[in-house]
Symmetry: C2
Subunit: 340 residues, 2 copies
DNA sequence: TTGAAAGCGCTAACAA
DNA sequence: TTGTTAGCGCTTTCAA
């Protein structure tokens, strides 16, 4: 019923192979035949079956970017940046959520589903080390993440500890003495993002000759702004000594700013706040949010290159690469009161 | 090289057809054979080729959601909502950007690419009527959009004019007399989103017995917060009579809040601001942003049902559906000063 | 209830 | 430079 390559071939008076060669820009095709083929394509309204091409050639020309939740501003910024990078390499990419689509039956992380693509970029947020380790995919896979991943995978991460250290060092230098570690984790066993950033918080304290009060580590189980808002308001009400907040993510920091407002603590005069991610919205907030810039553009550029090369070398053996993007603190209105 | 259905069939001592039946949950398979097949699948680590299945059956089990830019907070909220809806129907969906991937050669909107999917949800933002009209796809397609779309497509839109009218009516009732129409459009010929929302602005004025000053319609060519911020600051500096801003989208309104701050205009006492979209972040802003709620969850629910039914009825003829979601104003801190 | 044959639409490999 | 042959891995159809 649909027009096939054979129909085009018949209309143009050539073999299907020649049509295929024209459509794949194989350079050895005679100019006149090429013209005849393209005319027939046009007249018949032919559209290539990419499914059939993929079955035969093993290539889909498609890459997928998988993250927990597209509505998370960090992931949507990352996905957008990756999409721009892939587009400039002529690679088409789609974006998927692992939320609602876990490894289960028809999920985004199953081998059967992933085989539709030539490569995968996986944001590790929300995935445990074990979940990643159990992935048994046979295609190029780059993990982008805030925390440790199994060493056999290519992995691009940010300087969690150093970035956090910079942020808290800045808060301490700006006069804070009681800095809440919002979204932090007290456990030091695993290598998650929250743990690493909490380690930076501790490190900054000890480098300043201060003792970090572990009671100031406040986990945010769901990592939502609303949850952070409530938690911050509660803690600020009870403990008026808190004079700084370092949040593990800007989404959390934005909630913290709202929570501080709820209990009438003025930022930055009474309370200083620093986040992590350097989202575009930070400059628009009132007060503008100080944040650690994780170097997202650099990371997505690296991810695109790495995946492009892995795909091009078609499964050749390789050492896995592990890159770390340097972090850089950006001070805005929410912190940096200069007096002590 | 990869394990195929035939390998599984051989290992289980059955025909490939039986393996296929087991994997598709065809109920007429003997329990013992089913068990043998599943054991063989497990032992061999077999993974179905969804590509081959699609080539043969014509179904991919996949739907795509296409929007201009995932980094836009409205689209990412919409996509997330749609993904949740599709997941609850057992349909897997991917998300694509039309930005960087236009109709060109290998774009997201080409027929060849779209044929990979069983259905499409297309956000019309950033697409002209003509671009949509030139789409010649043969699969279920639902357009979700703020503006008019060709009548042959199923279309779910929001009550642009009424929502805007409510917003501006509220501003006028709250004492505003010079309400900037930010992101509006002076042309009344086309049926775009900006035009419809500007029409609501005019309507509210005439219903209040006032004359809308067309000089207060300020277009934002790129629809970015930063651009809006600059424009608002410039206009407020020049024209101190402006006492209200209605922005066509919350992203724009957020920029407007920042711009007002840049020129030290206090919201809501000196200037009231209302946006459109009711994004989750609105409640976290300082001041919290009043906004028109377009009923996104309702719209995405409708889109999911409609597409699911279109897919199930496999190309049967149908009247196209056109649904409009009612809009509802949510007043927060940025507007609603009660004195006149 | 299970299996054999055929072919979805394309391209790799080879032959002309 | 073009064409022929074969088959990617599955499911539709029909026979057993």
């Amino acid at each position: 019923m649909a027009v096939t390559m054979r129909d085009v071939a018949n209309a143009a008076g050539v073999s299907p192979m020649t049509v295929s060669n024209v459509l794949r820009d194989v350079p050895t095709v005679d100019e006149e035949l090429r013209a005849r083929v393209l005319r027939a394509v046009d007249e018949l309204g032919y559209e290539l079956s990419l499914t059939a091409r993929q079955l035969r050639s093993g290539r889909s020309g498609l890459v997928t970017v998988i993250g927990l939740d597209i509505n998370d501003p960090y992931f949507s910024a990352l996905a957008s940046s990756l999409a721009a990078g892939f587009a400039s390499e002529g690679i088409h990419c789609v974006i998927e959520q692992s939320r609602f689509n876990p490894g289960g039956e028809r999920g985004a992380l199953t081998g059967a589903h992933l085989k539709r693509f030539d490569g995968v970029v996986l944001s590790s947020v929300g995935l445990s080390y074990e979940q990643m380790d159990s992935l048994d995919v046979n295609l190029p896979l780059v993990i982008m993440g805030e925390h440790e991943a199994p060493p056999r995978f290519d992995h691009i991460m940010m300087a969690n500890i150093d970035g956090s250290r910079q942020a808290v060092e800045h808060l301490l230098a700006s006069g804070c003495r009681r800095v809440m570690m919002l979204g932090g984790s007290e456990t030091t066993t695993t290598h998650g993002m929250a743990e690493a950033r909490t380690a930076g918080w501790r490190q900054a304290h000890s480098e300043a000759g201060l003792v970090a009060d572990e009671a100031l580590v406040i986990p945010t189980p769901h990592y939502t702004p609303t949850e952070a808002r409530t938690l911050v308001a509660e803690h600020l009400r009870v403990d008026r000594s808190i004079d700084g907040i370092f949040a593990v993510a800007d989404a959390i920091a934005i909630g913290a700013l709202a929570g501080a407002r709820d209990v009438h603590r003025e930022v930055p005069t009474e309370l200083q706040v620093v986040g992590f991610d350097n989202l575009a919205i930070d400059t628009l907030l009132n007060p503008a949010l100080s944040s650690v810039d994780p170097g997202m553009d650099w990371m997505s550029q690296m991810a695109v290159r790495l995946l492009r090369d892995r795909i091009a070398s078609h499964g050749a053996e390789h050492e896995s690469e592990h890159l770390v993007s340097p972090a850089r603190l950006v001070v805005r209105e929410s912190s940096g009161r200069s007096e002590a």
